[in-house]
Symmetry: C2
Subunit: 130 residues, 2 copies
DNA sequence: ATAACTGCAAACGGTTTGCAAGTCT
DNA sequence: AGACTTGCAAACCGTTTGCAGTTAT
């Protein structure tokens, strides 16, 4: 959850970071806005977006790939994928990774992979219990 | 590339389908608009969007997951993933599929998967040659 | 001191919608 | 007739930007 090098840790940013900290791992700019505004009432939506933008640069946050518009996910560094609960919307990270083997991609499609993105949808432990 | 049941195949829709037919598999609403307008000059952007919407319902088209806003991909039916060329933007389908095994997801995360989305980025055969 | 940061309000880009007219069967 | 479709223009929603003033270091 780190900001880029020369970024300053202001009250507003602290409030946004804190808001990201709560919640199930995925969020909307407006959700953060509402949450963060409880402790930082003057906060503007523009600042929320600017903060999200900073976090995107350090890969601490990413737009949620396979989803509706406007959803972001909190991300820890390093290669991982997301388990997205279709019931409660929570997002969990997993280090489990199964990409198609490079050799086969090359052989079958002449395609040279450099990265991939994988999201798994389903039901999280909590929602399964209920 | 089929339209839903009771949908009519009008001149405008034919032009849009045709425009999707050209191109490398991924496209933008406006790209289609420009292309299709060459043979169907009166065509409106709204109609392009409405046609894309129809195709989304039959899964003949999907929003391109891990990409900028506004990109769509032509999709054939059935489970497959996309190989996206970072150089030319073309999108190829592959039946190669490697998802994390259900048993392991359940064991490690208590997560019950129901579907997944996988996109591979890299360089396509054509661009590798050049 | 000086770069970084903020709120505001306006602008943006992609997408959707209400409507009245047109078209297919 | 009756359901479906279209173009137009306006509305929408998430996001970005210019600006003038404020703040962290």
């Amino acid at each position: 959850m780190l900001l880029p090098a020369k970024a300053r840790l202001t009250r507003q940013r602290r409030a946004v970071l804190d808001a990201i900290g709560r919640g199930g791992g995925s969020f909307t700019a407006v959700e953060l806005y509402d949450l963060a505004r409880r402790r930082e009432p003057g906060l503007s939506l523009a600042t929320v977006y600017r903060t999200i933008d900073l976090l995107k640069r350090t890969d601490a946050v990413r737009p949620l790939a396979g989803s509706e518009r406007g959803e972001y996910v909190r991300c820890s560094p390093g290669h991982h994928h997301h388990l997205i609960c279709l019931t409660c919307g929570s997002v969990e990270e997993t280090e489990l990774c199964a990409a198609p083997p490079e050799a086969e991609l090359r052989e079958r499609h002449g395609f040279t992979p450099s990265s991939h993105e994988l999201d798994v949808y389903g039901t999280c432990a909590g929602c399964l219990a209920a």
